[in-house]
């Protein structure tokens, strides 16, 4: 089942390439249909996932037995929500680009391939498989940014590729370190988790965690490894940005929960404070820099640094174990659950925000916030949806972001009160900057970027959302509301898994 889920998009992509070139419409239909089927498959897997937690739908095959790597996939409460979120987001992207005409076939092929790699990464239970999907997602995203981006796209794509490729090699070195520490040598995550190969090897453990940590931190990205993110986002096409921020960034934080914490519990506990500090710095710095942006999309990109910072803070706080009894355990459980929930929530919301940025750019030709004013007069639906996305993103109760951040901050407050207090500052800043941007763009007298020199600022046509844009954005925001009001059905899946991570961490 999972193999089908992972390989189906690639199979469709290959057949799109091999079959005679169809019309753009037929390509879009095939792409969207695949995304719908993927979502349906995920829903089936979700329904069949056992309520008690643990890994389900596992599949194993011998692949490279002599290197200790195998094909091993499976889902649990950590990965299943992310798989579902990715499928929703990829469907949204397929719908969003419904009217695109520029090399549609290649674009669809890359996105289908990206979907394969993203889902493959989340279900991988083998380090080499994980790495394979990690690297292939970089390749696909490089071509998306370089091929369909605007302005300085080639340079941004190169920066993105080089930077994250560095991370992936750090990751690979860390994986090799784990592999050699295990006896017998293996790359299987489940076996490594069971064996805890680095127990009692402080130096080796610290070095491996350093390599894995740097690799994942670059991907997440956390300060100070975030510098690739703003240019990549600014120049990427809207759907590319949505997937990059919504899905690809999660690979970093997911790696912390899937690999770093359960496989290297000792090293993680030793370095947890580092992650707490990095997380808080990302939260505050990301918010501050976002506050200084004059470009709407760049601002959203920096809020991603801020939002991913909460996750790093939470997983760091979960590692600072003290003898604080059941209350502390509950707090850490809350933090880890919140971090997974935040990944889902951020994926939906930032995906929506980037798609909305794309709408703005397509109509106005610029992301500069100051170039717009009073857009709500022309495009009320667009304004309403952006408002909803912004409010949800800043953590207003009733939206998924609130549940996530509330859990993270409440859970982290006990183990790390000072850091959590500082992180609250980030919440305030994010709220302020999102509200300021929304006010600037949508309220006040109508002012749009002039269509040419000397033209009036109101002549440009600014049509409201087309049906396909509404169809792509509404489900994302509706899900954010549903998750904000009725989070239980997702939390029930996450909680056993986060409890499992903590149990492994406490070894």
């Amino acid at each position: 089942m999972l193999t089908v889920l992972v390989l189906l998009p690639t199979a469709v992509a290959v057949s799109l390439l091999c079959l005679p070139r169809g019309t753009p419409r037929s390509v879009h239909v095939a792409w969207t249909a695949t995304a719908v089927v993927e979502l349906a498959l995920t829903a089936t897997i979700w329904l069949r996932h056992p309520a008690g937690g643990g890994l389900s739908h596992q599949e194993r095959a011998r692949w490279l037995p002599s290197v200790g790597a195998g094909y091993h996939v499976g889902v649990d409460g950590l990965s299943l929500p992310l798989v579902a979120m990715s499928c929703v987001l990829f469907l949204a992207c397929a719908l969003y680009t419904w009217r695109q005409t520029d090399r549609v076939r290649e674009f669809a092929v890359l996105f289908l391939f990206l979907q394969s790699t993203s889902l493959g990464l989340f279900v991988a239970l083998d380090l080499i498989l994980f790495f394979l999907f990690f690297d292939l997602s970089l390749v696909a995203m490089y071509f998306v940014i370089a091929g369909w981006g605007h302005r300085d796209a080639a340079r941004s794509a190169l920066l993105f590729f080089l930077y994250t490729f560095t991370g992936s090699l750090a990751l690979l070195l860390g994986f090799i370190g784990l592999y050699l520490a295990a006896d017998p040598h293996t790359f299987d995550i489940v076996e490594l988790t069971r064996d805890d190969p680095l127990a009692g090897r402080t130096t080796h453990g610290a070095l491996v965690l350093l390599a894995v940590g740097v690799g994942l931190a670059i991907k997440t990205p956390t300060v100070p490894f975030h510098t690739w993110l703003p240019p990549a986002h600014t120049d990427a096409p809207a759907a590319g940005s949505a997937v990059l921020a919504g899905v690809l960034l999660k690979m970093g934080t997911y790696g912390f929960l899937r690999i770093a914490m359960p496989v290297m519990p000792g090293a993680w506990r030793g370095a947890a404070v580092v992650f707490v500090v990095v997380g808080v710095v990302s939260v505050v710095y990301g918010a501050l820099v976002a506050f200084a942006q004059t470009d709407f999309k760049r601002m959203v990109a920096y809020t991603s640094v801020n939002h991913m910072g909460y996750i790093v803070l939470a997983v760091g706080a979960a590692g600072t174990l003290g003898g604080d009894g059941p209350a502390g355990d509950r707090a850490r459980h809350l933090a880890v659950t919140g971090s997974v929930f935040q990944m889902v929530s951020h994926g939906l919301l930032t995906g929506a925000l980037f798609l909305l940025c794309g709408v703005l750019y397509e109509r106005g030709g610029t992301h500069r916030t100051a170039a717009y004013s009073g857009v709500a007069h022309r495009a009320p639906v667009f304004a309403a949806l952006t408002g909803v996305a912004a409010f949800a993103s800043l953590g207003l109760p009733g939206f998924s972001g609130f549940i996530a951040e509330f859990q993270i901050l409440t859970g982290s407050l006990g183990p790390q009160p000072v850091a959590t207090g500082l992180a609250l500052l980030g919440v305030l800043l994010t709220a302020a900057l999102l509200l300021r941007a929304v006010r600037q763009v949508f309220t006040g007298p109508l002012r749009l970027p002039p269509t040419g020199p000397g033209q009036a600022t109101t002549t440009r046509s600014f049509p409201d959302l087309a049906w396909h844009e509404t169809a792509s954005l509404t489900p994302l925001l509706a899900l954010a509301v549903v998750l904000g009001l009725l989070p239980r059905f997702v939390l029930d899946v996450i909680e056993p898994a986060s409890l499992g991570v903590l149990r492994l961490l406490a070894r």
């Binding site: 290197v67 390749v139 091929g147 190169l158 080089l162 560095t166 750090a170 690979l172 090799i176 050699l180």
Partner: protein
């Protein structure tokens, strides 16, 4: 010398190759010009037969031949298969090259390729320093002639540079052999392995350095790499493919055999020295590749950096259980991927510069896919064969306690991505049709002269499809090589198992 192991059948692949070379030469003397391709066909047949013989021998027992001077073990078998496979691909590239098919000395080309391949196989299997020296000469002398085969200015310069450096380092190799003979009272590896640990360290190091110089020259590693970029740029594209692939395999296998055999117990000087050479090779190769605009030169520097990674298992030979299969698998993956990239270059004889590849993805999507797969393969992107090779090589370095070496190699891999992307980006994303810009840009270049001559030569018309910017036959190598690069990576498990057997002797 009356051992029981003087069975020529042990050397059947080598005998087949050498025999076909002689036969092809005789055949070429009698064939009319337009039938010279028969000699090429004979060479291809010889290679294929040699491959079969090598595969059969690989399945057989490990042993030695001719008074233990030649080993038949996994290293030799893999060396044979990869060298013969690589030679086969090069021969196919040559047979589909319009320029070569029109050349008056077509047969000689095939013969030289076969002889150089025999030399490379001998390097891989030699278990005696004298045989190593003989293999070195046999692998080198035909290669000098190949480098200058086009008989133009650039080719002559390339051949001369190649020859002078080869002669110098060949002398060093012979000196090293002599010194090791003095130190170890013999030239056979088993004897040397017993004697060298007790021999004076100074002598061993001096001799080892000399032998290493020869290995580095044939593999194109720093500091014996100066000939490589010029030879690859100045000679024909199939020759470039040959020079950057086939001799390297033999030389690195020879280096490994030396490291795991006679020099294994002589102290840490060898691993440390080779580690430094490896780092220098990958780093300098990468740095030099950054600024290249000529695709062949870029590939040449890329192969220099690849030798750096390949030297890692040679450095840590005998200090980990992972070294041998890492080297052999990487060699196989590298050979097929590198040949795939060169096949694309052969398919576009006029596209000499990175800019000439702009828009290839729109003009010839399949060829562009093959190129991108091969270049990403050379970077080490999973799931290609080189990725698996790199994984094995890094693991071996780690396991032997050379973590820093693995880290440096990883950093270099990142650096290498940069120049491969400089090629990939215009190929996939550019819009101008390929071949538009080279005509005004490099009027004085040799390669263009080659291509131009192919267009002007009346004989060329019979072979080329009239489109001088595209030599369609080369895709017969490019597509399978790219596919093999991915398949070898995906299905590498069983292959890796086969490579792990013990050395002979």
């Amino acid at each position: 010398m009356n051992g029981t192991d003087e069975n020529p059948l042990d050397l059947l692949p080598e005998v087949l190759l050498a025999g076909c070379a002689v036969l092809a030469l005789l055949l070429g003397c009698w064939l009319p010009r337009h039938r010279q391709w028969l000699a090429g066909a004979l060479a291809v047949t010889g290679c294929a037969a040699g491959l079969v013989a090598a595969a059969v021998a690989a399945a057989g027992p490990t042993g030695t031949a001719f008074d233990a001077s030649y080993a038949v073990d996994p290293v030799t078998s893999t060396g044979r298969i990869v060298i013969l496979g690589g030679t086969l691909l090069v021969l196919l590239l040559s047979l589909t090259s319009p320029w070569l098919r029109a050349a008056p000395r077509e047969t000689e080309f095939y013969v030289l390729v076969l002889l150089a391949a025999v030399g490379a196989v001998l390097l891989a299997g030699a278990q005696d320093l004298l045989l190593l020296a003989a293999g070195y000469l046999l692998a080198s002398v035909p290669a000098y002639a190949l480098a200058g085969f086009a008989r133009d200015g650039r080719g002559t310069e390339a051949a001369l540079k190649y020859y002078v450096l080869g002669a110098l380092l060949g002398v060093l190799l012979l000196t090293g052999v002599t010194v090791l003979l003095a130190a170890g009272h013999g030239t056979g590896y088993p004897a040397l392995r017993r004697e060298l640990p007790d021999a004076p360290v100074g002598l061993v190091i001096t001799g080892g350095l000399g032998v290493l110089a020869g290995v580095l020259f044939k593999s194109g590693g720093v500091p014996a790499h100066y000939w490589l970029p010029d030879a690859v740029q100045g000679s024909l594209a199939p020759v470039g493919a040959f020079l950057t692939t086939v001799p390297k395999i033999g030389a690195l296998a020879a280096g490994y055999r030396l490291a795991a055999g006679p020099l294994a117990d002589t102290g840490r000087w060898w691993p440390d020295l080779v580690a430094v050479v490896a780092v220098a090779s990958m780093t300098l190769g990468n740095l030099a590749a950054f600024s290249q605009r000529d695709v062949r030169r870029l590939l040449a520097y890329s192969t220099i950096s690849q030798v750096g990674y390949l030297l890692l298992p040679v450095a840590v030979a005998g200090r980990t259980a992972l070294d041998q299969r890492a080297l052999l698998f990487y060699l196989a993956g590298y050979a097929v991927t590198n040949l795939g990239a060169f096949a694309v270059v052969c398919a576009l004889p006029r596209a000499r510069h990175l800019a000439d590849y702009r828009g290839l993805a729109r003009e010839r999507p399949a060829l562009a896919v093959a190129l991108v797969v091969c270049l990403l393969g050379l970077v080490g992107t999973p799931p290609t064969a080189v990725f698996l090779g790199k994984l094995a090589v890094f693991s071996a370095a780690f396991d032997a306690g050379y973590t820093w070496l693995a880290v440096v190699a990883a950093a270099n891999t990142v650096a290498s991505l940069f120049y491969y992307l400089r090629w990939i980006a215009p190929t996939v994303l550019g819009t101008a049709p390929p071949g538009d810009e080279d005509r005004d840009g490099d009027g004085g270049r040799v390669g263009n002269g080659n291509a131009g001559r192919a267009g002007a030569d009346p004989l060329a018309g019979g072979h080329a499809t009239g489109d001088a910017t595209f030599a369609g036959g080369a895709v017969l190598v490019a597509y399978p090589a790219a596919a093999a690069s991915v398949l070898l990576g995906l299905l590498g498990g069983p292959v890796l198992d086969l490579l792990a057997g013990p050395l002979a002797g």
